[in-house]
Each structure stands twice: as structure tokens, then as C-alpha cells.
Amino acid sequence: MNSAIPYAQALTNLTAHAQPPLRPAELSRSALLAQYHPDSDANASTLLQIGPSRGQACHPQLAALLQSNALIDGFDLAGAEQRSTDVLVIGGGGAGAAAALTAARSGAQVMLASKLRLGDSNTVMAEGGIQAALAASDSPQQHFDDAMRGGHQCANPQLLAQMASDAPGVIRWLIELGMHFDLEDPLSDGGKLRYKQAGGCSQRRILCYRDYTGLEMMRVLRETVELDPAISLLNRCPVVELLSHEDGSCAGAVLYDLEYQRFMVVSARQTILATGGCGRLHLQGFPTSNHYGATADGLVLAYRLGAGLRDMDAFQYHPTGVAWPQRLRGGLISEAARSGGALLVNGLGERFIEELAPRDVVSAAILRECAAGRGIERNGQLGVFLDTRALGPELAQRLPALQHLADKCGIDPSREPMLIYPTLHYQNGGVVIDGNGQTEVPGLLCAGEITGGIHGRNRLMGNALLDILAFGRRAGRQAARLAQAARHKSSLPPLRGGIEHVYRWQRQLALAGLDASVQAPLLYPGQARLALHRPTGTRAQEK
């Protein structure tokens, strides 16, 4: 470990000033990012060798999974249960739920499969809030400008514009579903929505419910999905492979039913992947704020089927992950804390960055402090202080999740600072989509964190919850439209696909000399390693 200032010493330095001074910036933001952001690390990028995005930069850990072998062979599907549906949604987070609901309400039969349970997702961990240009002084144009700047001008302007324009409609939809938001005056009827400031934004634009906005959102989404008769829900059914038609289009997916321990072949007219990101890969050994399901499953499958990716070397490291105690390492402290006035302070008792600068800049600054020996060490854990004392006694009421987390750490946040360190938070890149979530593969749509291009190379606070709903709904609507058009042509159940694309992929692996023993998707890495049960008898007899 780099040299660091011991905790007790740092605490003394902190309390020496009533108001910690802000050290003038010695590096420009771009220089800071180039030197200290984890994405700029020499070991953080390699080139993809095969597949639709070959030649593009990608994180090596992710590249190993993207260029991997399938979990199943054609034989595994012999005797598998067959089902069919108009729209198959894979992923039980906010994007999947929004897509399923919208598709169902547009008249499609929907099947929603989750490898965990509906709602077990990063959506419920989103604390800060959701951005929407609703205030009188605000506009979607300003929302767009802020997000474009925050993403280093790398976002796809069409996608970003759609997201910003959809935002007011998304909030209305959520309120209609029954979601609560913080109000300026909660006691009056029809109160005004309360807006918070987000990092990198020109306006107060964040809507929230306490500091567990995602949980509240998922609550209403889950209730609505479970009550919708047009959606059949498959919990604990991970997707192990997509199915393809001869022309390369997506034909549904192969699921594995954990309860009955057997494969299930779902033929779908349209398939929506909403499987989220890849935080649980712990890129470069970083802790992560992501839930255990974030293992890039959908990304791997979409790429294998031929969907192009973008910005696969751009990840977001949230500045304020818990650094101490170790058992809670990586756990997220919402940006709402900094938005409400919490300060970042190094071991010398100085502020070293504007707290509400874009997340990547703040993270890079924290890493610089740690690298320069101005970090703080407590029981072997390195970090800097998040000084929450300024939030005052309202903290417990306004930010109950932070209070809860602090309680678990054994800290009183109104009197003590918390030790924090950047945590792997979000996958900025992902599958290339058009404005309706359509990927380059016909029959396959994507929504949510799995997609790329909406946020460019860095995302602003509150735009993730907006993104999953805006594009979840767009993908759901588009899938229902396409499925209905297909049903109009032929009322027969959708044609059954195969895994011919897997064989094509294996050929490419072999010809590129890549290791075919690496298998993906990971599904449940490191825990209860899933043994896929093969149909007994026939295969055994053959061997």
C-alpha cells in the first residue's frame, strides 16, 4: 500500500478547521482523468479479436468473457421444455419490468425471466434519484446539454435527446403507477416536487424519494408486473444462450429452470435483454456497489449473436463507496450526501475537488490523493473522508439509507466522517441500439445498463433510473409492435430457432486461436456454482 496518513492523525487534521479549505486545482480535469482514472490504466484496455466489434477497445476481463465459449451444446436441448411467447424479456430489474409492462399494455403476450427474482437488481440500489427537466426554469435541452458535457461529448445525441425528452413522461407514468416522490411541503395536498442538485448539472433536477428512490420505484414496478395477467414471470431462470434463426435473427432464448433443474426453450417473436452491467467482475480488483447478479450475462450473449458493442473500456467508478469497515467495502453512499452538502476531505484536512464535479473527475481526484500519500488509512483500508457533519440532524430523516449504512459501520454520520474509496458502479458502454432499443440483430432489443451510447463515457447522477425507464418503455413498445406485425402475418406460434450461431462462434474462436475452455455467461460466479443438469441416459450411454 502507498504511504497514507493514519486515521487518528487525519481526524485531528479534519477538526483543525471549522470549514476545510479547498486546495486550488493543480491539474486540469482532463489531465486528472488521463493520469488517475482507472479506465486510463495501461492494463485496462485490450482489443477485441473476434465478433462484430473486433478491433474495438475493451476491458481485458470483459474481453475474456465476450470471447468465450457457450455453456451448452445442441444436445442439451434434446427433450427440453418448449414454450413460446410474443415478447421475451430477460432481466428482472427496472428496465426489464418497464419493458414487460409496456409490451403487455401494447397488447403482447410477455414472458419475463430473471436469474434471481423480479426486483433483485441494481435498480433497488439506486439511491440518489432520477433526473427529469420538470422545473419551470429547466428544459430537456438543458438536461441534454448537461448529460452531453458529463459524457465527454461521446454520447449518441439522438439517444440522449430521446431520453431527456421522455423524462417528464416517465415521471408522470411512475406517479400514475403509484410511486412516491419527495415533496417540498409533504403536508399540503398536490405539493410541489422537490428538486435536488446533481453533480455536473446546471439545474436542480433530481427527483427522489428519501435516499432509496430505486427501491420505491421497483416496489411499484414489481407490484404492477406481478398483477398483470399478460405477463408470465419466471423467477430463478437464468438465460444460458440466445436462439437464432438461419438468417441470424434472434429467435428467443434457452433458459435453465433452477427449480426443476432443466432447460427450457422459449421461442419468442422479439427478445429484450435487460440484464444490466458487469460490476461483479470487479474490474482491476475494485470493489463494486453492484448487486451479485451484475455479471455481464446479456452482454456476452448479445455479442455472440452478433450485436455490436461500444465504449466497452469506459466504466464509472462511483466516488463514494464505503472503504471501512472491510465487510461493507464497496457499498454505496449516495451522491445525495454530497448534493446535500457533505464534503470530501483528504488526510491533511483539505478539500481537494469540488464535490459536485462529474463522478469520474471526483473519483480520479480521490485516487490521486491516495496515490500521493494524502489518503487515510484505517485498519488496513485506504480512502478519504466524506465529511457528513454539515448535513446536520436532518440527515437521519432525509437520507435514511445513509443513516442505516452508517449504523452498520458503527459511525454516527452527524458527528464523524466516513472513510470512502471509489467503487465500480456503472458500465457506461454496452450494446449499440437505435432509438427504440433495437440492436444490430433483428429480433433482439436491449434496454438498461446493458446498452451503450446513451451516456457517452461517463454518466451523471440520476440518469440511470431515467435511462432504464425511458428505453425500457421504448423497447417494450417497439417489441410489441414488431411482434404484432409478425403475428399478423402468421398466427402460428413463433418458429423455433437453434444455436447455429454458437457453432459459427466456436469456429471463429478456433480460427483466432482463442481459449475455448472459458465459458460464459457466468450466471452465478463464485457462489453455488451452477451445475447444468443434462438430460440423463442418452448422453451417458453414448459416452
Binding site: D73, F75, L77, A78, G79, A80, Y503, R507, Q541, E542
Partner: protein, 421 residues
């Protein structure tokens, strides 16, 4: 020694629809030889032992002779380029990469049988086949070679490119006739064979694209040269459409009679992922399966026939140990069921029932009665249609049940015999 792509796929003749380039590459010489010795053309084709490459393997000269001897005032030569079988992709390659090779062969055939009309019957859904053929034929219309040919014939020769329906059944010989008479491609009963009564009752010679593509080379280099290209008694080369679980699938022109082992493991790069070889669907895929026991078989019409299977179109769909035979068979039977023209009730209903039963077996939703029904259908259906579609469908089902009974959950006989036909 590498003996890949010696004749039809020889890089020198892959000139596309450019007639001048074709003539520079030695094209036209075959036709000139033919013009000089038109009475011996059929003899030379017979000496070369050119076979029908569309799947039958029937000696080409017999059809030529029958057509030549039949009485008619406007005979037809039809080049059958309807190719639509799963796993076959040879004709489309020839038609788009070297169309003049095919045109010249057809013109020589027209000379041999004294035809008044040459029709290229092309599947319009296969890449650039149609476009390149139209270009190629339009260039011949004004060539001096065609004028010489018409002089030799003593009457004008009409050359047309006609789009086929693209349906599988449209490639059947009598369906070609029906289609070119502007009807739905319903196959007809044989005899009469098209060589006696084809389009509009006129004698009609119908040959596959690959068959005709060989003709100019045979005339130019002689029958002995052609015979020597093959392995053993087989003559010439064959286009093998290799697909399935191999590392390098693709179209390979190899000496007729190359062994299956060599095709799969040498040219095909071996099995994908090093998995064990399980079986090969040949031809249509409507033939008896070849298994690991048959890896040594020489891939020519006669040798494969001795193993109770057929070479067919030269399509080789390789199946590895990791793939389900039933799934594949179900796919192909489904294809046949959808491709049945529907005029023979036994074929229309039989293929449908086979497909339904196989889908149940594949989905693990079957009962013993379903397996019994499958076996009964395999006994009663063969020979019940006007054409061979139902026979082919039954053959592949029967063969898969016999060769891989354990996958169907049927009792495994202690000593499976090689004969399944």
C-alpha cells in the same frame, strides 16, 4: 498433393459474367470442339462418365441420347438452377462466380440434342445468381460463337433466363416442366420422362447446373482427362457442400471419390471443438445417415450407394456428438412438410404427421404410441407419391431411428447391421 478446385472452381475460370474474360481464360474452346465434331458429343460425354450432379447420379449421356433421339420440332434444354435443399450451396456459387461455364455447357447440350430453346431456370433468391446469369446470357446473344452454333443447327436458338419459384419442389424434374409451362410446380408421374415429353410435349433435356458446367471442359480436354480426375473408378470432380459441426465449412471441389474422412478432417479442418464425429446427412438431406463406420467411404455415387445411402447433391451436413440427431431430423422433415406441393394426400399428410411426431419426440412430450406411429408411417408411406419427396423424408427418419435408437428411447439392438435401406 493438394487436389482442390481443379476444374469448376479453378481460380482461372472465376471470371464472373464477363464474356471476354471467359474467352481469354480458355472459354469457347469446348464449344468449338463440339461444333467440329457434333456427332461425337454424346459419345464423349458417355466416355467421360459424366453423372447427373443434381442428386440422382444418373449417367448424363442417357438423357442426352434419349432427347436427341426423340422426335420433336422444338426441343428444349433446361439448366436446373433451382437449388433449395438444406446444406447445398454449389449451384449458386457456379452461377454467380462463373456463369459462362454453365452457359457454354448448355449450348453444347443444345447442339447435341438439336434444341431450339435453352432455358436457364434459376432460383431468384440465391444471391447474385439471377443477375449474373442474365448478364452472361445477354453477352452471348451477340457473340460470333452463337452465330456459328445457329448455323450448325440450321435454325435460331432462343436463350432465356427464367426465375423459378424458389420452392424446394420446383427443382424436381417434372416440376421444372410444369413450372416452365407457367403452372404451379406440381411434379408429374413418370413415365413419360421429360426427355420424351417435356415442356409443351416437346422432348426436354433437364440437367443440373454443375452437370452442364463440366461439359465444356470435357469436350476441350477429352474424356480421358476427365476420367483421370476422379479417384478409382469414379471420374471427374465433385463440388462438396460441407457444413455442420466442422471447423471450416464451405464449398470444396475435390476429385470424385475423395473419402469422407479426408473431406471432413483434412479439408474441413476436423470437428469443431474436437468433438467426436457422429453422423453425416448427405445430399438432400433425404438419405440414409452415414456414421463413423462410414468415414472411409469414397464420396462418389456408386460407393455411397453401396453403403445404402446416396451422394445426392454432394451436401455433407456433419453432426458431432454434441448435437441431437432428432432435432436435425425434425428440422429437415419440417422443411419437407413445408415443401410438399400437396397434390398427393399421402405426402401432404404424411410429412405433416412425421414433422408433428418428431417435434413431440424432440420436445420430450411423446408417448410410446408416438414412436409406434413414426415406425408405422415409415412402413406405409414410401412409394406413395408422384415424386420422391415423401420417400426421401421417410428414408431420413427411418435411418435416424435405426442408427440412433437410444436418442428416440427405442430399444438398442445388440448388433446393429449396416444395412438400413
Amino acid at each position: 498433393m493438394e487436389k482442390l478446385n481443379q476444374v469448376l472452381l479453378n481460380p482461372a475460370v472465376q471470371v464472373g459474367p464477363n464474356l471476354d474474360a471467359w474467352l481469354q481464360a480458355g472459354g469457347g474452346l469446348g464449344l468449338q470442339v463440339a461444333l467440329g465434331a457434333r456427332s461425337t458429343i454424346i459419345r464423349q460425354i458417355a466416355d467421360a462418365d459424366l453423372r447427373g450432379m443434381g442428386g440422382a447420379g444418373f449417367p448424363a449421356w442417357r438423357k442426352w441420347e434419349a432427347t436427341a433421339n426423340a422426335v420433336g420440332d422444338s426441343k428444349y434444354v433446361v439448366c436446373n438452377g433451382n437449388e433449395d435443399e438444406p446444406g447445398t450451396f454449389k449451384d449458386r456459387t457456379l452461377l454467380s462466380a462463373s456463369p459462362h461455364q454453365v452457359v457454354e455447357g448448355a449450348l453444347i447440350a443444345a447442339l447435341a440434342v438439336r434444341a431450339a430453346c435453352v432455358i436457364f431456370y434459376i432460383n431468384p433468391h440465391q444471391g447474385q445468381s439471377m443477375q449474373h446469369m442474365q448478364l452472361a446470357v445477354s453477352q452471348w446473344q451477340h457473340s460470333t460463337l452463337l452465330q456459328q452454333l445457329e448455323q450448325a443447327l440450321g435454325h435460331p436458338l432462343e436463350i432465356k433466363v427464367v426465375a423459378s419459384s424458389g420452392r424446394y419442389i420446383g427443382g424436381e424434374e417434372t416440376a421444372v416442366v410444369a413450372s416452365l409451362e407457367a403452372g404451379f410446380p406440381f411434379p408429374r408421374k413418370k413415365p413419360p420422362f421429360p426427355a420424351e415429353q417435356g415442356i409443351n410435349g416437346q422432348p426436354t433435356l433437364i440437367n443440373n447446373v454443375e452437370t452442364l458446367a463440366n461439359v465444356s471442359h470435357i469436350l476441350r480436354h477429352g474424356a480421358d482427362w476427365y476420367r483421370a480426375l476422379g479417384v478409382g473408378k469414379a471420374s471427374g470432380t465433385k463440388l462438396y457442400s460441407l457444413s455442420g459441426d466442422v471447423l471450416r465449412p464451405g464449398l470444396y471441389e475435390l476429385p470424385m471419390g475423395t473419402s469422407l474422412q479426408e473431406l471432413v478432417f483434412h479439408y474441413g479442418g476436423g470437428m469443431l471443438q474436437g468433438k467426436a464425429f457422429k453422423a453425416v446427412f448427405t445430399g438432400g438431406p433425404s438419405n440414409t445417415l452415414l456414421t463413423a463406420r462410414d468415414l472411409d467411404v469414397a464420396l462418389d455415387f456408386d460407393s455411397v450407394w453401396l453403403r445404402h445411402s446416396r451422394l445426392g447433391t454432394g451436401a455433407m451436413i456433419v453432426i458431432s456428438e454434441g448435437s441431437s440427431i432428432i432435432r436435425k431430423v425434425a428440422e429437415y422433415i419440417d422443411f419437407f412438410a413445408k415443401g410438399s406441393c400437396g397434390q398427393c394426400p399421402s405426402c401432404k399428410c404424411g410429412t405433416f404427421q412425421l414433422a408433428r411426431l418428431l417435434d413431440r419426440v424432440d420436445g420430450g412430450r411423446h408417448s410410446h404410441a408416438d414412436l409406434d406411429a413414426l415406425q408405422h408411417l415409415c412402413q406405409i408411406l414410401p412409394g406413395s407419391g408422384r415424386c420422391g419427396l415423401i420417400d426421401g423424408a421417410v428414408t431420413v427418419v427411418k435411418s435416424s431411428m435405426h442408427t440412433f435408437p437410444q436418442e428416440y428411447g427405442l430399444p438398442v439392438s445388440a448388433e446393429p447391421s449396416t444395412a438400413t435401406a
